[in-house]
């Protein structure tokens, strides 16, 4: 008789061996016998759902923070862009001011008279009269009757002075008068303000040859404007059959709508 204890031990050893053999066989063949498909079909949808949910939540979490950070960055960039644009505009404005002032300075050097730079700070409240207010007055040496010019040409004449401001009558105002001449032919006349920002070149004798496009300069004979300063270009000539004068229209060189800085001629012109 085999003892019962010995039978149990042998049974266990056989089971272990059988198990090892079975495992070694299945490990080589990878056989599923159809059960795998069933299990997969059952579990997969849940797995899929859970996995997707987790991924969705994780994605949502990640994207939320990403969006927040992107939004913050975007706001930061927008702010930076705005500042940059503002700086760009300021720089552009500075550049233009620099060009204008440089022109003014160059022009100032070419002027033999003593001049004072001033800034236009206001315009005439009326549409019918053409004056500007500048930021220099009596205390800076400005006096009534002084000429006001820019590199492009004559602006006008000081008509009223306070301590720190002056009113300048522009040459396009009907009350203004500048003694001038045609540069080429030396035909003389008086520049008076006309309509639509143009001037009339009055009292030019019919016998003088005046052509469209000719330059008109100051004669210096009025005792206000230095000789040879640009006034404008002849825009039209009407020579009637009667009368001793011809009608000449002049377009000023100065753009009076864009006047910002001007020069006041402090010393009177030399004859």
């Amino acid at each position: 008789m085999i003892p019962k204890k010995m039978v149990v031990i042998i049974g266990v050893i056989v089971l272990i061996a059988a198990n090892i053999i079975a495992l070694s066989v299945t490990s080589r063949r990878h056989a599923s016998f159809g059960s795998g498909r069933i299990a997969l079909s059952f579990a997969a949808p849940f797995q899929k759902a859970v996995t997707r949910s987790i991924r969705f939540a994780r994605g949502l979490w990640k994207h939320y923070f990403l969006t927040v950070s992107v939004a913050q960055e975007s706001y930061k960039y927008k702010k930076a862009l705005g500042l940059a644009q503002q700086q760009n505009n300021q720089l552009r404005e500075l550049k233009l001011t620099n060009v204008r002032l440089r022109n003014l300075l160059d022009f100032q050097k070419t002027m033999t008279n003593q001049v004072l730079a001033a800034e236009a700070i206001g315009k005439d409240p009326s549409q019918w009269y053409k004056t500007i207010i500048i930021d220099k007055g009596k205390d800076e040496g400005v006096a009534k009757g002084m000429a006001v010019v820019v590199p492009e040409g004559i602006v006008g004449q000081v008509m009223d002075v306070s301590a720190h401001n002056s009113k300048v009558l522009l040459i396009i105002d009907p009350n203004s008068a500048v003694d001038a001449l045609i540069q080429r032919t030396r035909a003389r006349g008086v520049i008076k303000g006309g309509s639509s920002g143009r001037c009339l070149f009055k009292y030019v004798l019919r016998k003088h040859d005046v052509g469209v496009g000719e330059r008109v300069v100051s004669s210096g004979m009025d005792g206000v404007f230095p000789k040879g300063l640009a006034v404008g270009r002849v825009a039209g000539v009407i020579r009637r059959s009667s009368g001793i004068f011809q009608e000449v229209t002049v377009t000023p060189f100065v753009d009076f709508e864009k006047l910002e800085e001007v020069l006041v001629v402090l010393s009177p012109p030399k004859h």
Binding site: D124, P125, S126, Q127, W128, P174, N175
Partner: protein, 172 residues
Amino acid sequence: MTYFFYICTFVLLLIFQTTVMPYFPLFDRFYDLLAPFVIYLGLFRSVRESIPIIIIFGFIMDNLSGGPLGLYLTTYLWLFASVRWVITILRVRDNVLLPFVVAAGVLLENIIFMGAITMFESGSRFSQADFSTVAVQVLWALVTGPIFLIFFKYLHQRWDKWSGEILGSPTS
């Protein structure tokens, strides 16, 4: 306090008209902003209160403009007198008629200016552009004039209320 309100309004209008508006080409042919203010005084305020204000403002405007001294003063006084006369025959305080009152006022101002130029400047002629400017100003006045009047009225009421609270008594 009311006079202080008038001075503040005047300064604001003046600065806007002579310094801010020239930067905007849209307002190249805009009308005188003081015109609706004078019309407002004529329509809604007393003669005793308005006359000194009109004289002072007209005088200042004359000094800022290149026109003959007294032109603005006369224009404003005539404008004021016309409005006072009109309110005796028409109920112009109604909002419906306000655009026409301002437009007529602006037209009157331009006619006075043109008359002055014709009278005082020898050989002056008006071009097509001048008449076009007047027409554009009148159109601007038709559209924006009542807004100014309503705004002045509203602002004045608020100012009176506010100054009344500050001083503890209603102001004139």
